[in-house]
Structures are given as structure tokens and as C-alpha cells.
């Protein structure tokens, strides 16, 4: 079980690294879809079939909403400012730290894989959130951060009950919708966040 969880956690983190590194919006979308779809499996015991289905459905819906806004994007993203190897190494370091510090000094009620993936996702989300000038990239960072907090919550307090799974699913959809709404409008306004100029060579 631990191996399966670890594999799932690695897939989730890989998706996050792809998401924050990619310049092409559709590639970033693929990465975040993998992350969103893999996250519900990172719990021990696994959620019931219905809550799990609800989570998967909500993740698919959120990804679809993001796809609606991303498919017509004329401009590629800036991508990671530090490059994908750095992102991947930082996420790996955080993964190891999360695995090693399970419970943070107190008994944990969830799997170490969830803590590791949560730490890695939070680390990967830092750069897009702090330095993200494009709404789509910033939004992806925020989705990763919220997903990371959910994973850390699973590792600390155990598998959520069905109603909480449902609410988290709803939160994922609303977050995806909000990011998609802002991204579509940002693309229409054709300018990056904060009114900063685009990088030379990326003008429409």
C-alpha cells in the first residue's frame, strides 16, 4: 500500500512540476489535471467509492473549466523563471522533507505519502504565487497550494469524511472556475497581471 501511495504521490508531484514549468498553457493544464486527479488517491484508508467519484468528477470539471479558458489562449506563458530542473529538484527536496517529518512532532493520522506530496506541491506553488505575472500561472499556483493544504490536512488529520470530500470537491470546482474566469478575461484584456510589460518576443 505504501508503495502504491508513494507512486501516486510521485505522479501527483510530477504533474505539479510539469504545470509550473511548462510555457504552453495546454501542457500546464495537463500537469495540473494529473495532479488534481491523483490527489484523492493519496489517503489511507481510501475514501469510499462515492466520495472518490465525487472528487474525481469535480477535478475533471475544474480541469475542463481551465481548458475552456486555456484552449484559446494566444500567448504562451512565461513558464518557470528558474527552469524545470530546479523546480523538480526543489519539489523532490520538499517531498523528502515531508516524508521525513510526518506529523511534525506529533502522531499523524494519515499517510506519509500525502505529507510528502503536500510539501512538494506547496514548494512548487511558491514561485507562481509570489512572482506569477500571468493570471493562468498564478491561478495554477493557487490550485496547487490549495491541493497541497488538502494533502497536508490528510496527512495530519486522516482521511476526510464523505461530506468533507464533497465540500473539497466543490471548492476545487469553484477555484477552477474562478481561475478560468480571470484567465479568460486576462487573455481578452491581453496584458499580464499588475500591468507589467510582457517579455520581449512574447507580444501578440
Amino acid at each position: 500500500m505504501t508503495l502504491l501511495l508513494a507512486a501516486a504521490a510521485i505522479v501527483v508531484v510530477a504533474g505539479a512540476v510539469v504545470c509550473v514549468s511548462a510555457r504552453e498553457p495546454r501542457t500546464a493544464l495537463l500537469g495540473i489535471t494529473i495532479t488534481l486527479l491523483g490527489t484523492p488517491f493519496l489517503s489511507d484508508p481510501l475514501a469510499g467509492p462515492l466520495p472518490l467519484a465525487a472528487r474525481l468528477l469535480s477535478s475533471t470539471l475544474a480541469a475542463y473549466l481551465l481548458w475552456i479558458s486555456a484552449r484559446d489562449m494566444a500567448l504562451p506563458s512565461r513558464g518557470s523563471t528558474v527552469g524545470w530542473p530546479v523546480e523538480a529538484l526543489a519539489a523532490a527536496a520538499a517531498f523528502a522533507a515531508g516524508w521525513g517529518t510526518l506529523g511534525l512532532g506529533a502522531p499523524a493520522m494519515g499517510p506519509a505519502a500525502a505529507a510528502a506530496a503536500g510539501f512538494a506541491l506547496a514548494t512548487a506553488a511558491v514561485l507562481p504565487i509570489v512572482f506569477g505575472r500571468e493570471v493562468f500561472r498564478l491561478g495554477n499556483g493557487l490550485i496547487l497550494l490549495v491541493t497541497a493544504s488538502g494533502l497536508i490536512r490528510v496527512s495530519l488529520a486522516g482521511t476526510p469524511v464523505a461530506l468533507e470530500q464533497l465540500v473539497i470537491g466543490g471548492l476545487t470546482v469553484v477555484l477552477g472556475a474562478a481561475v478560468a474566469f480571470l484567465s479568460a478575461n486576462a487573455d481578452a484584456a491581453a496584458a499580464p497581471v499588475d500591468g507589467l510589460r510582457r517579455r520581449p518576443g512574447l507580444e501578440r
Partner: protein, 689 residues
């Protein structure tokens, strides 16, 4: 059945009173958002949804429990009042925004987003588990992003929306991790003050983030710059308020029992009280110096939200009742204040305080509304709002800090006083040109021309010779000129020149920069002043209906006269012929024929009179039809000024009633909890395991 004044439902019966509210709010909200391309339909669905949701919220039974997915949804009195007030206030706000906005400036997502946000808030207040509840409150906040953008959408506005999204998500993550940290058996760690203190501080800072407390206020200030004023209550007051209620319930249930009050966590508590004090003082100062009244609303929200933050300071269950009462007053008062700003901007076409000189002289209704908002917010000794503010200050501080916080509590008077002082000053030209609160005839209808040609309900129509009298014509001309001059000033960019002294040799006028002119022309355009196309079309029907009725009446009169006269004459002729044929002499028949002709003439006159009566009736009906814009006007745009004032007054009154202890607020806040841990219900330490 009742328990300590709180009615609770039968435990055996299926308790589903929370479900109708959730179903209606989410259902109508999603429907309204999906139909948002059809603005009118979306508004109608959203408005109906808010109405139904307000009723459904009132039907929530405190203590009602429903098992869902291993958890319970529990109804509470506070939840009932909060949601009913929220839906009702949004109902009025949407109506006000709809009536005061043009089709291009109306924030079409507002009804749907409000419904979805209140649905999520209702869910959060019904869930006993704080982690699930906080996720629901984050969702409620995120829905608000949909109302943060308004046409025209620029990169700057999108950037502001992104900042807001970031603040909501980061605050939610902080709160969720703090809750998860404390949601497990901590063992020996629970004795470590730093462990508990970190979680406590994270939650308080998350709440400070959500309210935009200083120094976390940058996103809030930008939102005020970008979002429409009608969306500010949802973005900055209602959604963060639910977040704070859940956070307070969690602190009361998870942190306070672990710390001996009031000695524990002094550093963390001092930090939180300091943030609250800074927000109280600097928020009031920032609101006071603003030139834009929408920014004033935003900073006033920041300032008043500091009392909620203050409640995190004492770690004392005694803060629970005052802070919950204050949250009810706060959200209503800030909604009324935002509505007041919207009404002011819609009427005077500007948000700049310098251009609003004399607004109070023009609008006593809005003056009364502002006074009510100020009284509801700051309160008077004896009013609940004043008492709870002072109680929070008392519980959170002592010594010199208490004096500082008390000063902050009444500092809000400064910006309200400034608004009133500006309103009572000599009116600015733009304010002078705008009509007052008095109900008035539609200018658009008058311009369309029907008022002159239609039979007015004011009285009999003026005779042509009377209208050609010099005085009458003079008045009519001057009125038309006045109307057109107002329009020219308001929308057609009249040349704004500053006249130089006559002695100066320089060009006689200094042109205002084009950017200023453009801004001014945008601001001057008052939606209330401009009749909608629907109303104008409706009004243009007036002359046509009158003409149609006149035509019908004259045709009927002519037809009646001719036909009835013809028949009478023919009858007389027949009679005459008959008598002649019977061998009477021509002389004998003559008087009979003359008499018959007289009868015929009389009959024709009667017929003519009858036809005139029919014509008058038809014209009267047509007049009523033609004048219907005057009655339908308040619902369209004729008296939108009055409607908006009344709506603002209603919201201000609601805030005042809440501040005076109405709406069951304090009673609800004092009500004992049927279940420990339910958001919106007091949780005392002795109830916890």
C-alpha cells in the same frame, strides 16, 4: 419543543430545514450564472432566487439535524438570521444596482454569485466540523471573484481580481492547515505554547487577510479601486464574516480550552490586538482622507472589521456574544453604506467628494440614510452596536491600550462627519443641476414629445390659443432649454473651461486636459438622468394612441351623425310619401314632413352628442394608456432617484434595527448551543471533550 428559548425539532423526525435553503441558493445561483449572457433573464432568476432563499432561510429550524455523508448539517438561530439578512440585503442591493445601472454597467454576475456565496455560507454555518466548514467559506469567498470585474475589463482590473483570488486562497490555506494541526491528538505537544500559539496566530492572520486588515490591506484597497461598489459588501464583508465566524468558533472550541485565560499566549495575543488597533485607527484615517467615496467604503469596512479581529485577542468565551452581534450589525451597515455610495454615484454621476458638494441639500432621503448608517455603525450609548464595540474593546485590552482602542471605536465618526459636511456645503454645479428627491415627471418622456400632445392627467389639455400665449411659450422654451442644458453638461462633454479675468490678454479660456474631460464626462453621465430606451419607446406610444382614439371618435361621431340623421330623414320621407299616397293634400302633408325633419334633426343631434361621449371615453382610455409610463416609471426609470433613495433608506433602516438589537441578533448570539462545535453557536469549554 423548546430548550432554553431555542426551539429544537423532534430528534426522531427527519430534519431537513437546512436543505431547502441550500437547494434554492445553489440552484438559482447556478442557473443565474449560466444564463448571464441574457442579462434580464439572469437578473430575474437571481432576484427570484434571493427572494426564495430569504424565505427558505427564515424556515430553518434551530437545532434541526440532518445526517449527510458521515456528518451532520445542523440548523442554528444565528445561521437563520445571518442568511435571511444576507439574502434580503442582497435582494435590495441587486434591485438598487439594477435600477441605478445602465445595461452596460450592471454587474450581471452579482445575483448568481451572491446566491452561490450565501449557499456556501449556509453550508459552512451548518457543518459542525471546522475543517469542512472552512473549506466551504473559502468556496464562498472565491465565488465573489466573479463580481470583482466590471466592464470595461482591463488588465489592471484582472490583476486586482487575481490579487483577491490570491488573498482568499492563501487565507483559506492558512486556516485549513491551522485546523488540521490541531485536529489530532497532540500528546505532549499540547503543553507547548508555541505549538498552540502558531495555529492560533495562523487563524487570526487568515481572518485579517480576508478582511483586508492593515497591514494586509493592499488587495482590499485595489479591489475597492476596481470592483463595482455594489460588489464590495459581498467581497469584503459577507464572505469574510462567515470565514471569521467559523474561525472564532474554532478558536473558541480548540484553542481557548487549552490555554488558561487570560495569561496564555501573551505575544500572539498582543500581536493580534495590535493589528486590530492599527486597523481601527489607520482604517478610519484612510477612510477620512479619501476623495473617492467608494474607497471610503472599503476602508470603513477594513476599520469596522478590526472589531472582529479584536475578538480573537482575549481567548475568552465572553467575546463570543458581542462579536457575533457585531458581525450582524457590521455586514448590514456596510451593505447600506455601499448602497448609499451607489445611489450617490448614480444620481450625481461622480464619486469624487469635491464634486459632490451640497449633495445633502439635494437629497434629504440619502442624508437620512447616511445618518442611520453612521448611527448603526458607531452606535449611541444604549444601542447594541455601541455596547458590543465597547465590550470587545474592554475584553481585549486594559490600561492605555484601552484608551487607544476606544478612540479607534469612535474614529469612524470622522469620515461620516466629513461626508455630511461636504453634503451641507454650497452645492457644486453638477449637484445643482441634478433633480432632488421629489417625485417628478419623466424628462425622457417630455423630450419625446407626448407630454405636449397627450391628454395629461394633470388636468385639462391647454387650448391652442392658451399655448400660444407668450408666457406659456416662454416657460416651455425655458424648460426645454434647461433640460437640454442639463443633458449637455451631463453627457455631451460641455466645454469645461476656466474663464480668465477679463483684463488678461491671454486667451480667454484655459482648456482642461482631455483626460480630465473624458473622466469627468464619464463620471457625469448619470444613469438616473438618462431614460432607458424601453421607457422612451413606451412614452412614444402615447401620441399615437391619442391620435388613434381621436380618429376613432371622430369617425364614430361622423358615422353616427350621418347614419342616424339619414335614417330619421328617410323615415320622415317615407312617412310623408305614405301620407301623400293615401290621398292627403300636399299642404296637409307638409307640416308632417317638417315635423319629421325636425325629429330627424333632433335625432342627429342626440347621435352626435352620444358619439362625442363615446369619443371622450375612448380618449380618456387612450390618455390613461398614454400616461401609464408615469405609473410604470418608478419601476422603469422615471423615478429611479426616488426608488434608489427608498432602497438605500430601507437598508440603512435594517442596519439601524440590527444595531438597536432587533432582528433577533443579540438574542440569537446569546442563545445556548444545541450542539458543541456547530459554527454560529457558542461553544463553551466545558462542553468539549
Amino acid at each position: 419543543m423548546a430548550c432554553d428559548g431555542v426551539p429544537v425539532s423532534n430528534a426522531d423526525a427527519p430534519a431537513v430545514s437546512v436543505l431547502p435553503f441550500l437547494a434554492t441558493s445553489f440552484g438559482f445561483g447556478i442557473l443565474s450564472l449560466l444564463t448571464r449572457s441574457l442579462t434580464g433573464v439572469s437578473f430575474a432568476i437571481g432576484w427570484l432566487g434571493l427572494l426564495v432563499s430569504a424565505v427558505a432561510a427564515l424556515a430553518i429550524v434551530p437545532g434541526d439535524r440532518l445526517s449527510v455523508g458521515g456528518e451532520f448539517l445542523v440548523g442554528s438561530e444565528y445561521q437563520r438570521i445571518f442568511l435571511a439578512m444576507g439574502c434580503s440585503a442582497s435582494l435590495l442591493l441587486c434591485l438598487l444596482g439594477w435600477s441605478a445601472s445602465n445595461s452596460g454597467t450592471w454587474q450581471r454576475n452579482l445575483p448568481g454569485a451572491s446566491l452561490a456565496a450565501f449557499g456556501a455560507a449556509g453550508l459552512a454555518l451548518a457543518i459542525p466540523d471546522p475543517m469542512t466548514a472552512i473549506a466551504a467559506t473559502v468556496a464562498a469567498g472565491l465565488v465573489g471573484v466573479l463580481v470583482s470585474l466590471v466592464v470595461p475589463i482591463t488588465s489592471r482590473r484582472v490583476g486586482v481580481g487575481a490579487r483577491e483570488l490570491r488573498a482568499i486562497a492563501v487565507a483559506g490555506v492558512l486556516a485549513l492547515i491551522a485546523m488540521a494541526w490541531m485536529a489530532r491528538p497532540l500528546g505532549a505537544l499540547s503543553a507547548e505554547p508555541a505549538v498552540v500559539g502558531l495555529a492560533y496566530l495562523a487563524m487570526a492572520i487568515a481572518v485579517a487577510f480576508r478582511f483586508g486588515a492593515i497591514p494586509f490591506h493592499v488587495w482590499a484597497a485595489r479591489v475597492a479601486d476596481s470592483a463595482p461598489e455594489i460588489g464590495l459588501p459581498l467581497l469584503m464583508a459577507w464572505s469574510p464574516a462567515v470565514f471569521a465566524v467559523v474561525g472564532l468558533a474554532w478558536v473558541d472550541g480548540s484553542i481557548a480550552p487549552l490555554t488558561p485565560v487570560p495569561l496564555a499566549l501573551p505575544l500572539e495575543r498582543a500581536l493580534i490586538v495590535s493589528i486590530a488597533a492599527i486597523s481601527l485607527l489607520l482604517g478610519a484615517f484612510a477612510a477620512w482622507i479619501q476623495e473617492d467615496i467608494e474607497h471610503m467604503v472599503a476602508y470603513s469596512i477594513v476599520q469596522d472589521a478590526a472589531f472582529v479581529l479584536l475578538a480573537f485577542g482575549p481567548l475568552d468565551p465572553a467575546t463570543w456574544q458581542p462579536v457575533r452581534t457585531w458581525i450582524l450589525v457590521f455586514v448590514l451597515a456596510k451593505t447600506a453604506f455601499a448602497a448609499w455610495v451607489l445611489a450617490i454615484r448614480a444620481r450625481f454621476g461622480t464619486r469624487r467628494l469635491g464634486e459632490l458638494r451640497g449633495w445633502a441639500r439635494s437629497s434629504p432621503t440619502l442624508t437620512a440614510a447616511l445618518v442611520m448608517v453612521a448611527v448603526a455603525t458607531v452606535g449611541l450609548p444604549g444601542l447594541v452596536s455601541f455596547d458590543v464595540r465597547m465590550a470587545l474593546v474592554r475584553l481585549a485590552s486594559d490600561g492605555p491600550a484601552r484608551a487607544v482602542l476606544s478612540l479607534g471605536a469612535i474614529a469612524a465618526l470622522a469620515y461620516y462627519a466629513r461626508l455630511l459636511a461636504v453634503g451641507l456645503a454650497d452645492p457644486a454645479p453638477g449637484v445643482r443641476a441634478v433633480a432632488g428627491d421629489r417625485p417628478r415627471w419623466p424628462e425622457g418622456v417630455a423630450l419625446a414629445g407626448w407630454a405636449r400632445s397627450s391628454p395629461s392627467l394633470d388636468g385639462p389639455r391647454a387650448a391652442p390659443e392658451a399655448s400660444s400665449q407668450p408666457g406659456m411659450a416662454e416657460r416651455r422654451r425655458s424648460r426645454r432649454e434647461a433640460l437640454f442644458s442639463v443633458r449637455a453638461r451631463s453627457s455631451v462633454q460641455a466645454p469645461r473651461t476656466i474663464q480668465a479675468p477679463p483684463t488678461a490678454e491671454a486667451p480667454s479660456a484655459v482648456q482642461v486636459p482631455p483626460a480630465v474631460q473624458a473622466r469627468s464626462s464619464v463620471q457625469r453621465r448619470s444613469p438616473i438622468q438618462a431614460p432607458s430606451s424601453a421607457a422612451t419607446r413606451w412614452a412614444q406610444l402615447g401620441p399615437w394612441t391619442v391620435r388613434l382614439a381621436e380618429l376613432l371618435a371622430s369617425r364614430r361621431a361622423a358615422a353616427g351623425r350621418i347614419q342616424r340623421g339619414r335614417w330619421a330623414v328617410r323615415l320622415a320621407e317615407l312617412s310623408t310619401r305614405g301620407r301623400a299616397a293615401a290621398g292627403r293634400t300636399r299642404e296637409a302633408a307638409q307640416p308632417v314632413a317638417e315635423r319629421g325633419a325636425r325629429v330627424a334633426e333632433r335625432g342627429a343631434r342626440v347621435a352626435q352628442r352620444g358619439a362625442r361621449a363615446v369619443g371622450r371615453g375612448a380618449r380618456m382610455v387612450a390618455g390613461v394608456f398614454a400616461a401609464s409610463p408615469r405609473w410604470a416609471g418608478p419601476l422603469l426609470d422615471v423615478n429611479r432617484t426616488l426608488v434608489s433613495s427608498v432602497l438605500v433608506l430601507a437598508l440603512a433602516l435594517a442596519a439601524l434595527v440590527a444595531a438597536a438589537g432587533g432582528w433577533g441578533g443579540p438574542a440569537a448570539a446569546r442563545a445556548p448551543a444545541p450542539e458543541p462545535g456547530v459554527q454560529g453557536q457558542a461553544v463553551s469549554p466545558d462542553k468539549l471533550p
